[in-house]
């Protein structure tokens, strides 16, 4: 899996691509979030548009990222879910826990503190 970050109007957008699964994919996500929190990032938008697959370990990493950012007083939101990932979050009842956004400009505006 690949993760690249960019800054737009006080929001850190993480573009993820590939598979978030046990092993490398989960580690890349964990390290990226840890690094961003270490640098003081508060508003994080995970772009999952190019994430083809997530397993239960990947779901766990998303939950862990969400709670880690929240603990530091920040917000983590999800952008551009594929149907597969959307269905998985529905099945696991996490769809309503995460703030899921469909449009990048609106997602950036939706963060409360800049």
């Amino acid at each position: 899996m690949k993760a690249s970050t960019r800054q737009v109007d006080g929001v850190t957008i993480v573009d993820l691509s590939g598979r978030i699964t046990l092993g490398e994919g989960s580690v890349v996500l964990r390290d990226t979030i840890k690094d961003l929190l270490g640098k003081g990032a508060k508003n994080i938008l995970l772009n999952l548009g190019d994430v083809s697959y997530i397993d239960s370990s990947g779901i766990g990493e998303l939950v862990s990222a969400f709670t880690s950012v929240q603990r530091q007083g920040g917000e983590l939101k999800l952008l551009h879910l594929t149907k597969k990932v959307h269905d998985l979050l529905q099945i696991t009842k996490l769809y309503t826990v995460f703030d899921v956004q469909e449009d990048e400009p609106n997602a950036i505006k939706s963060f409360s503190v800049k």
Partner: protein, 149 residues
Amino acid sequence: MTAQSKVSYRMESTLESVNKAEEMVGQLAKQAGFDEDARDGISMSVREAMINAVIHGNAYDPGKRVNLSLEQNNGELIITIGDEGKGLEPEEIPDPLAPDNLMKQSGRGIFLIRAFMDEVRFRKLEPGTEVTLIKRIPGSDLDRQEAST
């Protein structure tokens, strides 16, 4: 694999085995005629069951193996995964949808398997656990019987 056949593998307790099993089952499910959604569900179920066997069962022990069998028989795809670990009590696994568990990092694997497969059976081994995953093949006699009940 033909319409009525079974093939078995004895695999190392590694993540490579997890990926390999997932890939093989994905190909088999395609040959059996499952659509993309069903194939994804079957592949994920096998991935989760293999992860349970490799990590929670055999604990990556190089001396222990995971036994995988793939069977296409009588309108069903039957996948059996057995480990040589300390054993699993599926009834004791907390409900991942319970409010107290919803935000836990782990514990969703068996829930997902049950969500995607038609039938899931656990059997205790000496030592270890065997899980059997069953999915009815679309358009088969068994599938039609199920639809009419």
